[in-house]
Amino acid sequence: MPVKSKSLPTPELLNDARHPMEKYLRMDRLPHIWCSGCGLGTTLSCFTYALDEMHWTDADVGVVSGIGCTGRAAGYLNLDSYHTTHGRAIAFATGLAVVRPEKKVVVISGDGDLFAIGGNHFIHAARRNVNMTVLCVNNFNYGMTGGQFGPTTPIGQKGTTAPYGNFENPFNLPYLAASCGAVYVARWTSLDARRVKEAMIEALKRPGFSFVEIISPCPTNYGRRNKIGDGLDELRYYQENTVIRHGSDPRHAGIHPGKEIVVGCFVDEPRPTYLDLYNELVVEKNQFEKPSTLKKEI
């Protein structure tokens, strides 16, 4: 469980200091539950700055989350926001996206939610090229439930259920997303807030299934247990170990402790979306009237 740091500012102290992105936040739900030093706050603010730069409002975008620390993101965003079941955010978002094609559905969830219990939905939504942006906050563990290892935990790293170190081969998320057909695939660390924001903008602009992995510290569980230190120490580790390789083959983007972390944009390749093909091959070919819901996609 996330623990609240004693040094968190009290709501009284927050009274005067206004968040510049207040319009996108449910201020009546703050302070949030996330630990100090966690990368989730940075990621959420990157997302609000991305929306701001695009001049998007709740008329343009909605958010779906699964369950986990990351899954709580939906609850803090002042947009139509849906906090669903563990792993099912993408499936829920698929229904939302096909009946509201004129809007963008954004899924914000964790590595466990999206790639363990929800892995099947991820690969199929990417294959179908449903119009949605998936933002995965990868903290290499199940934060919410207390730091168990997960499908992205690197070999040798410890979790509460990997006391001797993880020996399962982890997913390489950009490679997985690329091979399933995502039209845009990028990875950044939450250290690099500007690039995270820019990648989010690029992902949101693309029609179809776009994916951004945000590598993010979880000092409370992952960092502490793996002797990485606090949130800042983990960010410092990223600073020293990431290399930017735009357009590189995501096959070589696997993460191994002590080795470099490849970041950048791996895929940017448009292809017809699910509803493009539905329109072309079902509706138009058979001269059905265009469904009222199938207005132009953004």
Partner: protein, 385 residues
């Protein structure tokens, strides 16, 4: 544009009639995964939905099917999924989400023999208690059971209406025999009533997503993009929809989820009575078993036994008051169902010893032999002396 309501007389199976009922009710999204004996619903609706401006999507499993239906519903669509036993089990997780978030939609289960893969092509009615209690936690349920293709059409329309009226996923618990049987289906547009989604009457800022009206049902449901910036969560939440994780909020919410069905049960419940006025023994049954029971009823009447039948069209909420009052005047009840005794437990609970209650179990694979039901009836008469 294809016709939304196929007016006229048709020769259709129960599955196709469910699909036509959905479209007549205004369904524009179907998300499902193939499974026998449900596939005819998906196949039929995959032809029909594109004709009427809707979307058919074949998902990767039943978990995602119901999840997509819930998403579609919040997107503003009337949405449905359909499955059978194994898929119904997979849907229990998001059925709970639908109950907790009070999402209108329809879930059809064409029951086959279970447990597990069981009898893929053969009949069962053994998911009736799963329909009531299948997802974890407490909540009220509406489950309708058709006995014919005609009723499959009508009850699917009705299920959509109940879903909008009471804001929950409504279950249609058909079975393999009704699903696959071909019969005459009359579709008369003048007889079809459709309840549209109630939108909020208050502007954003004043509107509260889960503030209930006098009938305990939340008043109005905004769609994605309507400007209400809703927060919808499966966590225990207050009337704004915000998570509040304590005993008081849990009590407020969960009691209401149960009570919004219980308090309105008189308006929800539908039954059909056959020859019950003078009956000493009443057969309580539903779905295909009601049709077999009619055979037994006729055999009994031929023998001079005063037997009637109470057919449950609404199984959940259970028609307690009706059974209770019958128990005061009859000798006993006979409950044939294609399971090892599920709804008989409800009958027994309600009758509380005021009359004899006799189960007529059947493990599934085919329908009851009316002679077996007759035997049970005669036993009840013998017992009464």
């Amino acid at each position: 544009m294809g016709k939304r309501i196929l007016a006229g007389t048709h020769f259709m199976n129960g599955d196709e009639a469910c699909a036509e009922g959905a479209i007549a009710a205004g369904c524009t999204l179907f998300a499902g995964y193939p499974i026998t004996p449900q596939s005819e619903i998906a196949e039929h609706i995959s032809v029909r939905l594109p004709e009427v401006g809707g979307v058919f999507i074949q998902m990767e499993d039943e978990i995602s099917s119901l999840a997509a239906v819930l998403g579609g519903a919040w997107g503003g669509a009337k949405a449905m999924t359909a499955t059978s036993g194994p898929g119904f089990s997979l849907m229990m997780e998001n059925l709970g989400l639908g109950m907790m978030t009070e999402t209108p939609c329809v879930l059809i289960n064409i029951q086959r023999g279970g447990p597990s893969t069981g009898l893929p092509t053969l009949v069962g009615q053994a998911d009736m208690m799963q329909a009531r209690w299948g997802s974890h936690g407490d909540y009220g349920v509406i489950a309708l059971v058709p006995s014919s293709p005609q009723e499959s059409f009508e009850l699917t329309v009705h299920a959509f209406n109940l879903a909008e009226t009471y804001r929950l996923p409504v279950l249609v618990m058909s079975d393999e025999v009704v699903g696959h049987m071909y019969e005459r289906v009359d579709i008369d547009p003048d007889k079809i009533e459709v309840v549209e989604r109630k939108k909020p009457s208050l502007p954003p800022g004043e509107f509260q997503l889960y503030k209930p009206g006098p009938n305990l049902v939340p008043e109005g449901m905004p769609s994605f993009g309507d400007g209400y910036k809703v927060h919808v969560t499966g966590l225990t939440h207050d009337e704004r929809g915000y998570p509040v994780l304590n005993a008081e909020t849990q009590h407020q919410l969960v009691v209401r989820l149960k009570e919004k069905i219980a308090a309105n049960s008189d308006d929800i419940i539908r039954v059909e009575e056959t020859a019950t006025e003078d009956a000493d023994v009443i057969i309580v049954t539903y779905g295909i078993s009601a049709r077999t029971s009619l055979g037994a009823l006729n055999l009994a009447r031929d023998k001079g036994l005063k037997v009637g039948m109470l057919r449950l069209i609404t199984v959940w909420p259970f028609p307690e008051a009706i059974v209770k009052s019958m128990a005061q005047r009859v000798t006993g009840f006979v409950v044939p169902e294609i399971n090892l005794g599920q709804i008989v437990l409800e009958v027994d609970r309600v009758v509380r010893g005021d009359a004899v209650v006799r189960s007529v179990p059947h493990a599934g694979g085919d329908i009851h032999d009316p002679a077996v039901i007759l035997e049970a009836i005669e036993e009840v008469f013998a017992h009464a002396g």
